[in-house]
């Protein structure tokens, strides 16, 4: 944030448009470069959340899954704040007793 941005904010003025232009461009280019359509991206978001939620409890209100771009490389960036780790889900065959038997 620049001094100008602060003053603009204090005076309730619109911020300078160059920065807005840059941010909008970066987003639109991330999509252009990835050839991913919005529906695919949404689908991917749902599936990523589903997988990650199996292991940790995530706070998606605070997070997002976006495409970011720099130096002509587009990256999928998942920002998923973790509330807490889940206990390892018991799988049908690995009863605690069985496991200790096997490992001994």
């Amino acid at each position: 944030m620049t001094l100008r941005d602060v003053i603009d904010k204090l005076l309730g003025r619109q911020p300078a448009s160059a920065n807005t232009a840059k941010q909008r461009l970066q987003l639109v280019l991330a999509h252009d470069r990835s050839d991913l359509n919005p529906e695919l991206l949404q689908q991917m978001r749902r599936e990523i959340l589903e997988v990650v939620s199996r292991y940790v409890e995530i706070d998606f209100e605070e997070g997002d899954v976006t495409l970011e771009t720099g130096d002509r490389v587009t990256a999928l960036v998942a920002n998923l704040p973790i509330r807490r780790a889940k206990l390892p889900a018991p799988t049908p065959i690995s009863e605690p007793t069985m496991e200790s038997e096997l490992s001994s």
């Binding site: 944030m1 620049t2 001094l3 100008r4 602060v6 003053i7 300078a16 448009s17 160059a18 920065n19 232009a21 840059k22 909008r24 461009l25 970066q26 639109v28 280019l29 252009d32 470069r33 720099g70 130096d71 002509r72």
Partner: protein
Amino acid sequence: MAATSTRYILICSGKGGVGKTTLTANLGIALAKQGARTAVLDADFGLRNLDLLLGLENRIVYTAQEVLAETCRLEQALVKHKQEPNLALLPAGNPRMLEWLQPDDMRKIAAMLGEQFDYVLIDAPAGIEGGFKNAMAAAREAIVVTTPEVSAVRDADRVIGLLNSEGVKPIQLVLNRVRPKMMANQEMLGVSDVTDILALPLLGLVLEDEQVIVSTNRGEPLTLTGNSSPAGRAYTNVARRLQGEEIPVIDPSKERQGLRAKLGRLMQTKIF
């Protein structure tokens, strides 16, 4: 005799009206003036204009079309510039050529030009379709022209993607129609904003300049008349950098002196 070191340079932008043809004409003249044998090839068959900007529109007898059909020799189609005989134009043919022209045709023309010229500058059409792809086929390297506006930068990015996938390189950037005052006030994308987003080295920076229009009215590129307007100097510098001279590109929005400019810079200080 074949000049093995001929440089085949595509001048492209994606978006129309950003200054490709103006750059091609000025760069062609500037290179010729610096002693390089230069051919400019109008690959914008749909909307040819390069002849007009060079003031050669009344001297066209044959075009690329007749050369390809072998109904004339290359020499007969080339229009030599009177004041700058190192420069020759190969005019675009009839727009109906677009129906049958193939990338190989453009390669063939470029190779013919390469036998007698040091530089072959190819003025590409707008868009990213067939016409552009044909023009790209004739090139080894590229200059992407853009203006500091979101639509132009976005379209430039598409073109860069295509150039990369075809292995055209190096790709360099010319930023056109820069308004230093707007940039300094942060009301126009900055020089480094554009070069960062497109990740290309900056070959030149051309200011918005009324003299560009005056020169097109006359059909005399700024670099021809030695006009020392800002745009004229910028085009000459682009030519010199292409030839390998190291001339720094100056960011005009940071160059301005005086209290207002200083205040402007202060306002851009990052505070957190």
